[in-house]
Each structure stands twice: as C-alpha cells, then as structure tokens.
C-alpha cells in the first residue's frame, strides 16, 4: 500500500485549496454538525435550497486531509442537483468506499479520486464524513427541521 494510492494529487489539491469552505452561508436552510470522536474530526455543513435544488453547499471543520478534501470534492459534485439526486450520488459514493465500482463516476467529478481510499479501511470513514453530512442535511431539510447534530461512533 503506497502513500500515492491513498493520497492522489487531486486529493492533495482539494486539501490545500478547498472549494466551498466557509464558516457561514447567507439564507441557509439547514446546518448539520457531524463529529467523529474516534479521530476528533468535526464537520459543519450548511445548505441553501432553492426550488428543490441544492443551491449552495458549504463546509467547515477540522480533520485529516482525506476528510477535508472529500468534503470539498463533494460540494462541487452536488451543487445544483435536486435533493433526491444528491442523496443518490451520496449513496453511489458510499458504495464506492465499500469496494463497488461507482455507477456515476462522471457525476462524482473529483470524488472518483477517493476510490483508492477504500483500500485503507480505517480511512473510509474520513472520506465519508462530508457525504454523510450531506445526506443528513438533505434528510433534515426534508423532515422540516433546520439543524441536526450527529456523532459517528465507528
């Protein structure tokens, strides 16, 4: 297992220059906070919904390069999509992290670069953190709430 399998250049680019990273979002509809006590990762994800679409998605937080880069790549892949489509793409990414070939590789954009992370079981949760926060944000919005906090225990 080489470092290059885990840390593709595209991942490092997202880590060094994250996209859609911000501590606040104008007119936000949902704010979810996800943490992973095991490694100390913290993630805040804020979403604005317009006409049933993910109009804006920003993240902020603290964590390893994989978790931060994956959240950055996630925002690029889902902004502009319908809520339902966002959930489906999150599921595609989740299955990829568990070893499946992604069925929507083109739609995942840079998210595909994280396929190699599936070979490092302890880091899979890092790559999933942003995507699980997105899924939670959409479901929270659909339930009519505006905030939710989740602690991951694996």
């Amino acid at each position: 297992m080489s470092m290059e399998d885990l840390y593709q250049e595209i991942i490092l680019d997202h880590y060094r220059k994250p996209k859609n990273r911000a501590p606040a979002l104008d007119n936000e509809d949902v704010h979810v906070h996800h943490s992973n006590p095991l490694c100390g990762d913290e993630m805040d994800l804020r979403v604005r919904v317009v006409d049933g679409n993910l109009d804006a998605v920003v993240f902020d937080g603290e964590g390893c390069s994989i978790s931060q880069a994956s959240a950055s790549a996630m925002t690029q892949a889902v902004i502009g999509r319908e809520l339902k489509d966002g959930l489906e793409l999150a599921e595609d990414f989740r299955l990829m992290m568990h070893g499946d070939e992604p069925s929507r590789a083109d739609d995942l954009l840079d998210g595909v670069a994280f396929q190699g992370v599936s070979k490092f079981p302890v880091r899979v949760k890092c790559a999933l953190l942003g995507w699980m926060a997105l899924r939670d944000a959409i479901e929270t919005y659909q339930s009519g709430a505006s905030a939710h906090s989740v602690t991951h225990d694996d």
């Binding site: 297992m1 080489s2 470092m3 885990l6 840390y7 490092l12 880590y15 060094r16 220059k17 006590p37 095991l38 490694c39 100390g40 990762d41 913290e42 603290e62 964590g63 390893c64 390069s65 994989i66 490092f120 880091r123 890092c126």
Partner: protein, 411 residues
Amino acid sequence: MPFDVPTLRKEFPTLQRDLDGHRLIYLDSAASSQTPVAVLDAMDRYYRWSRSNVHRGVYQLAEEATDLYEGARTKLATFVDADPRGIVFTKNATEACNLIAYSWVRRNLGPGDALLTTVMEHHANLVPFTYAAKDLGFEVRHITLTDDGQLDLDAARDLLADGRVRFVAVSHVSNVLGTINDVATIADMARAANPGAIIHADGTQAVPHLPVSFRDLGIDSYAITGHKMLGPTGIGALIARPELLDSMEPFLSGGDMIRDVTLDGATWNDIPHKFEAGTPMIAEAAGLGAAVDMLTELGMDQIRAHERELTGQLIDALAGINDVTVHGPRDLDVRGGAVSFEVAGVHPHDVGAMLSSTGVCVRVGHHCCKPLMKCLGSNATARASVHVYNDADDLPPLVEGIEAARSFFAR
C-alpha cells in the same frame, strides 16, 4: 541481563518484522507493549503441559496450574512492593478502576460528598466515577494543569479545603503528557483535609517504566494492566490495601469467590479471591509472571535510566523540527516516555499514515483522554512512546517521516 537494546530486541518476535522493506520501528508502547519470547513460552507451556483449572483439582496438573496462577500473584506483589492478599487479578486496568468504583465509591459516596480527579485522566480512571456521580448525586472536582502540563497542586489544595472529598482518583503517569504525578503528596493533602479519604491511582503507564512501591506511595488502591508491561492482553490487577479489600463487598459474583452457598444466599471467600469470580486468566497470569521476571532481571532502575535518556533525545528530536509542538513537561525528572506532539498544518492522522508507510508505528487521536485534549485546545495529537526495546536508532526514521509529512501536506 546487560542493558543492550539490539540484543534485547531479538527477544521480541514482532520487532524482527520488516514492513515493505522498512525495519519495524515500534513507538506505541503506551498503547500496548511488544511481547517477549519468554512470555509467549510461559503461556504456551501452561497450555501444552499444565492445562487444567486452578484452585480445585487434587491432581498434579491442577496443582501446577494453581502454582502458576498464584505464583504470578506473588511475583507481581514483590515487583510492586505490595501484600499478595491485596492483588486482585482483573482483565485490564479499566476493570480494576470499575472494581473500586462499584465496590467502594458506589457504596460509600452520596449527596454532599465529593470525589477529586484530574483533567488529565484516561477515560478508564474517569468515566466509572462520573457515571457513579450521575447515579448517586455526589460532586466531581477536577485538578487542573500548570502551563507545563503538571497537576496544579495549589488548585488541588483549594478543591480539598472543605473536607468533603472522600475519594481521589489520579493517574500516576499521564499517557498523553508523560507527566509523573506526585501521587504520595496528593494522598497526604487529601488525608490532611479528610482523614478517611480513599486514594486510588492509575498506575498503567507507571509500572512498566518506573520502580514502583505501592507501600511507599501510601495510597489505598492502584490499577495496572499487563499488556503495557511486556505481558499478554487480558490480564490486569487492582492492587489495594488488604484491609480496604476486606471491608468491601464483591464486584462480580459467581464461582470461586464464595465460601458457602445456599439456594438463597452466599458468603464470600477470603481476599483476594472474593474479587475473582469464575475461572481466571490462567495462561495470561503465567505470561504476566514471566514479564515481571524479565522486567526484574533488567532492573526497573536501569529501565528508567534508559528511557529517561531516550525520552530526552526524543523530545529534542521532535522539538527540533519546524512547526512541531511537543506537549508535556520538559523536566525529565517528572516525565515518562510518552511524548505527544502536533505538526502545524498536518492532521495527526496524516502524520500517522505517512510514518506508517516507512514502518514507523505511532498512535494518533485523542488517546482516550478527551477532556485533556480540550485543555490542550486540540482534537487529536500524534504520540510517540518508548520502552525497553527502543533506542536512539529509532529516532531518525521518525524525524524523517515527520519531515516528509510536512512537505507532502504543506498548504
């Protein structure tokens, strides 16, 4: 046994491995130490030669098994300078802390009482007591830290002043900061404020690395674990004053811990057996006995001297890297060999992964000390920790790996 690390390393099978062409460099003994051949042999010999249960058989095998198990108790008692009747075998230090929490704290503390602990505790020496406090309504107080990562004894004096503290739980050596706490002084202070106070210490990170005399510490109970002192997993101990154990009710009940049983009741066996319900960890006790033999032969004074020097070199090596912050005291007289550090701009998980790719094993995360992490203003750190089989040759690969992580992840 001469203290020659390259020779000593040959006793540890795992340390003979290489990982993708890199020599395995194990710097995570504060999480779990490596196991020498002598310990593996002792456990193997029990299973291959004396396999039977303890305390009941009248045949030779059972006597041998009982001798192995009780012999380990005697060896451990001598090693930590305690009465063998005060050595209760548990599965680990966490269970030992729970034993005192359930059998003493929960039966003696209530509203109006206070328990004193510290912000640097491992969850094992904190959660059993905060959990009890929630159920029973007593107060929990915390000794804070000085700027260099030692316990603030002035703050402790204030916390003890009203005489309501009836139990103290403090770590002997911090698994994150490496700080060696002055347990004996804290015990004196607590008893000066309340003569009946019970003092419990977590010796998990002390007994593998320092000469420890339970009698000289002057405390009431002490938790240790085998797997950090060259022994196997699955065995630890609560070391306590026999009079305290005598006064306590059992923690777990069932076989072997009874004197007499009727259909609706039972009376208890003598200590320490009263606290050892069911068939114990016989092979693990044999292994722990062999580990104690090895540590004794090496000499705890010599181990401490070796690790003290190496810890100084480790701190200097880490502190010499740009953007690296080292936590804990710099005074080697008050510090053990667990050294936590952070690399600015690089998450500990990424530091750990980079080091792993060249065979260097360090721990990353919160080290089961979330309240302490909060005090340090951090979610996670990396930690390198040393034991008898580490020497200065292990440091350059650590430094090179951290340098590589810095340039790889630089933003």
